[in-house]
């Protein structure tokens, strides 16, 4: 905790807008009350989440150090800032940056708070936020004050609220946009921020804007609410509006957003968003977090009924001037350049690296003579010093027109093209001129096991490793491969957006000879373009240490097998999932611990990946336990279900997905009693030994995965739609992953009870 904390309030009292200041005062008071035990820890947890103050890995006071599980004895030993979350444990502070828009002063302030309260690194997230790690909860009020003094809020950055509203980072300068969505994103951000109708959600609510339909832009179709700019001709005039999507999302059960309206007039955007928020708050699931996102409500009600309820709600809303007040300023909304337009006059000797950087990091704006440049940040990280240097650069070349991107980079807009060489040299001096933006080198990764409580495998470790290896061959790489997108998540929750890319990976684990082995599930053929137009599907789990080889093999096969101009997405669809899976089949094997212990350590780590005290039991070495075989068979079956769905055999797909879960449950029940064959008996055994005992419960998702199976059993004879079959397959994969995890936990417990010498 910083010694200067009590002093910032007075120092900044005239710089903070009163409403923001008052909110932070209240939060600071709540921090003190919780410290004194006068607020319930659950209430405080949601309170701080709504201020963007998140938990971080090991904040329960336990950490496995590679040898043993160690208790972290923080000074305030008893105090908590939430259930099972110790007061003094470092946490994460998320900072909202609406539509990614920033100025130089804000960059400098972010640099200050990253340096003084965190580890000197500011991390850009996949939703255009900033995150700081290792922050003490008592440092958060002064941190928030310092940000508020330059117009940045952390309000509703986490928790069950409207999260950062994202938008295409080239909105306004984009060559293919219908119109600039920036003023709309800004207006909706501040209309919904703290809005009473957005305070009673069961889960978070994410909004995105895109200026055009076909590019990646704001990844609208994976959002709870997405708006794509469109126009129409009406009575001789051009009207602005939005193609509105609702109910998209990634996570454990990814869904594409559904088209709510082909043309929503611009004036209707705030009230319809408000009406949707009210319906979500009123009818959305509140008790079971696992089904509380709006996508589940839309699925449950059906799109037509959902729309009817929203329009009914819209009709009953009391008028609010803010719905349309912002529209008066929209025609005048225009960023300004610092310098007049110019064209690049490249001399005979361009600086080293300039040509490659220009090729990948420079975007020609719709405004002649101007370009937008991307500052590619490895894993989204930038130091405080670099932030200050970037602020200088933003003042020197542009009118502080800065945006963060969902690819975890920063762009400077309105660069006069003739300044490119000088700008490149200045960026290079700050180590900010790395090429490869938007290419296979520009890998997106969530924090994963580095800092996230839910991380299963090291997404950042893998991303860094892949980046280093790919960079070594970047210059000789075929353009078709260079243009691919890789995204990595540490777990199934998809913060790395692994569904919306060519090669996606999410962390899972497997058991081998009494050890746990870090793995990544491989997903192929998702689309970054078309606003995340389709999602990749899982083809198998590969040990983490074999992922670089996996990438190399898949990209090589793509190069060999693609027809002229065929995209990776189209290629994977053409060859089919069976061929995709066959491509990596041999890479899924795990060498024994004796043969290659490196497989049992995750990237950028030195600790054994296992829950340490798992002994080398009788199953060690080359011997594989029957359940490992059985669960592998379940995975194959779930994959067959995917293949069936691909062929349009919906009923077969659904039945096979269900059977894969049933066999997984049967295998687990077999660990406790003679495995029954009758499905009802399997379910009864599963309930008795794994559900009622909570043995199958996921440490974070609770009963969710078990309920997938139980629900599938209940509904196994019902007619099913293709959408539901798709969902069932996703659920089956997660159930099988959970079965692996359950078996791993049981092995660990058994080893604890009877250690092997």
């Amino acid at each position: 905790m910083k010694a200067s904390n009590p002093l910032w309030k007075d120092r900044l009292q005239h710089q903070i807008p009163p409403d923001l200041g008052s909110e932070i005062d209240i939060f600071e008071h709540e921090v003190q009350l919780r410290k004194q035990g006068k607020i319930d820890e659950k209430v405080f947890a949601e309170t701080r989440l709504r201020r963007g103050a998140y938990g971080q890995r090991y904040d329960n006071g336990h950490r496995h150090d590679g040898v043993t599980e160690r208790t972290l004895t923080y000074p305030a030993t008893e105090a908590t800032k939430g259930p099972n979350t110790l007061w003094d444990a470092p946490g994460m502070q998320r900072i909202k940056i609406p539509y990614g828009g920033l100025d130089a002063v804000q960059l400098e302030r972010l640099a200050e708070v990253a340096e003084e309260y965190s580890d000197g690194i500011a991390h850009i997230t996949t939703r255009q936020d900033f995150q700081l790690h290792f922050v003490h909860i008592e440092d958060t009020p002064p941190l928030m004050r310092r940000l508020a003094a330059v117009g940045i809020t952390t309000r509703e950055a986490c928790g069950n609220s409207v999260r950062n509203v994202t938008a295409c980072p080239v909105a306004g300068v984009c060559r293919t946009q219908t119109f600039d969505v920036t003023p709309y994103a800004k207006a909706l951000t501040y209309f919904l921020l703290g809005h009473p109708d957005c305070q009673d959600f069961g889960r978070k609510f994410k909004i995105a804007f895109s200026g055009c339909r076909d590019e990646a832009c704001g990844l609208v179709r994976m959002h709870d609410l997405g708006a794509v700019a469109v126009t129409r001709e009406h009575n001789g005039t051009t009207e602005r509006g939005f193609e509105l999507y609702v109910g998209g999302g990634l996570g454990t059960v990814p869904q594409q957003a559904r088209l709510f309206s082909e043309f929503l007039p611009e004036a209707e955007l705030p009230p319809i968003a408000q009406a949707i928020a009210r319906v979500f708050a009123r009818l959305g699931e509140k008790k079971n977090r696992n089904t509380a996102r709006i996508k589940f409500l839309v699925s449950k009600l059906g799109l037509d009924e959902f729309k009817r309820l929203v329009m009914e709600e819209r009709g009953s809303l009391p008028h609010d001037d803010r719905w349309t007040a912002f529209l008066a300023d929209v025609p005048n909304y225009q960023e300004e350049p610092l310098k007049p337009p110019s064209l690049l006059q490249l001399g005979p000797e361009a600086p080293e690296g300039f040509a490659e950087w220009r090729r990948t990091n420079v975007y020609e704006q719709r405004q002649t003579g101007y370009v937008t440049i991307t500052v590619a940040l490895p894993l989204g990280d930038i130091t405080s010093t670099q932030l200050r240097q970037l602020a200088n650069i933003a003042r020197k070349y542009v009118k502080e027109t800065i945006r963060t991107t969902v690819e975890q980079n920063i762009v400077l807009r309105w660069v006069s093209e003739g300044d490119l060489v000088d700008l490149f040299n200045d960026l290079k001096a700050a180590h900010l001129a790395q090429p490869g933006a938007g290419t296979i080198l520009d890998i997106t990764a969530c924090p994963g096991t580095d800092t996230c409580k839910l991380g299963i495998s090291s997404s950042r470790g893998l991303a860094a490793e892949l980046r280093e290896r790919l960079a070594a061959t970047a210059y000789e790489m075929d353009e078709a491969v260079r243009g691919l997108h890789i995204k990595v998540s540490g777990c199934f929750n998809s913060c790395g957006q692994h569904h919306a890319c060519d090669l996606g990976f999410y962390g899972v684990s497997r058991n081998k000879g009494g050890y746990t082995v870090p793995h990544f599930q491989v997903l192929l053929g998702g689309q970054w373009q078309n606003n995340a137009g389709s999602y990749g599907l899982a083809i198998g789990a590969v040990p983490s240490k074999r992922i670089p080889e996996t990438v190399e093999r898949i990209t090589s096969r793509y190069l060999e097998g693609k027809s002229n101009g065929e995209s990776f997405h189209a290629w994977t669809r053409r060859i089919g999932k069976a061929a995709c899976k066959a491509m990596i089949e041999d890479l899924t094997s795990i060498p024994s611990h004796d043969e290659n212990p490196d497989f049992y350590i995750d990237w950028a780590d030195a600790r054994k990946y296992t829950i340490g005290d798992i002994g080398v039991g009788e199953c060690a070495g080359e011997v594989v336990s029957p359940i490992d075989f059985q669960l592998a068979a379940c995975e194959r079956k779930a994959f067959e279900a995917q293949l069936a769905l691909e062929k349009g055999e919906v009923e077969v797909a659904a039945r096979t997905a269900y059977e894969s879960m049933l066999e997984g449950a049967q295998a687990l029940v077999g660990l406790r009693e003679t495995a029954p064959s009758d499905p009802d008996e399997v379910v009864a055994g599963f309930r008795k030994h794994f559900f009622d005992t909570q043995l199958f419960y996921d440490p974070f998702a609770g009963p969710k995965f078990a309920q997938y199976f139980l629900k599938a059993h209940e509904r196994r004879n019902q007619t099913i739609s293709a959408d539901r079959a798709h969902q069932l397959i996703e659920e089956a994969q997660l159930f099988i992953e959970a079965s692996h995890s359950c078996h791993t936990r049981m092995s660990a417990q058994a080893a604890k009870a009877q250690p092997v010498s």
């Binding site: 000074p75 290792f134 003490h136 990280d381 950042r460 860094a464």
Partner: protein, 187 residues
């Protein structure tokens, strides 16, 4: 005055593999090698000019910092310390020197990581308590002299303010003759 930072630089001709610090720091956690409660290791090798590999403790950060393209061990005090400014100053220098000495001994770095005891950088990671101004300089200069006189000897070194107004308060210190890092260990 609180939240002191001290950086000792690696001898300029050495280019150690920073990845080697990952197992070393994890081992330090296992063995509780330092006085603080050690929590975790963060790998920032991908960030040019960044903290390299970071050892996170409750009270402090230890990083193989590469700021301004100069590799060194940076100690950053996070929590408050009791005592006089001089005591806190000596504590920070001693903690940094101890970590350097421990790192040099690690087999992963044998011969590849040697810190200079004749140069360091001192800073205060709190712009409100210690802005990078003449006033702070006047306040802290006597304290730094008191410490460095006892370690390097009066008149044998130069102190210079570093950084711009928006930076944290920073001072670079350079001894005119070679000096042993262990001199700072006494605290």
């Amino acid at each position: 005055m609180q939240h002191f930072r001290v950086k000792f630089f690696v001898q300029p001709d050495l280019r150690p593999d920073l990845g080697a610090a990952i197992p070393v720091f994890h081992r330090w956690i296992q063995e509780s090698r330092l006085e603080e409660m050690l929590i975790d290791v963060a790998d920032y090798r991908h960030v040019p000019g960044g903290p390299g590999v970071l050892l996170v403790a409750h009270d402090a950060f230890y990083s193989l910092d590469q700021a301004e393209d100069r590799l060194g061990l940076l100690y950053t005090r996070r929590t408050e310390l009791e005592g006089s400014t001089q005591e806190k100053l000596r504590h920070a220098f001693a903690a940094a020197a101890r970590a350097c000495a421990e790192l040099e001994k690690e087999p992963e770095f044998a011969g590849h990581l040697v810190f200079s005891g004749a140069e360091c950088e001192f800073s205060v990671n709190d712009r409100l308590l210690a802005p990078n101004t003449e006033e702070t300089w006047n306040l802290l200069r006597p304290e730094l002299h008191a410490l460095l006189d006892s370690v390097w000897g009066a008149g044998s070194y130069r102190l210079a303010r570093a950084g711009e107004a928006r930076d944290v308060f920073r001072v670079s210190a350079q001894c005119e003759t070679p000096a042993n890092l262990n001199l700072f260990l006494a605290g």
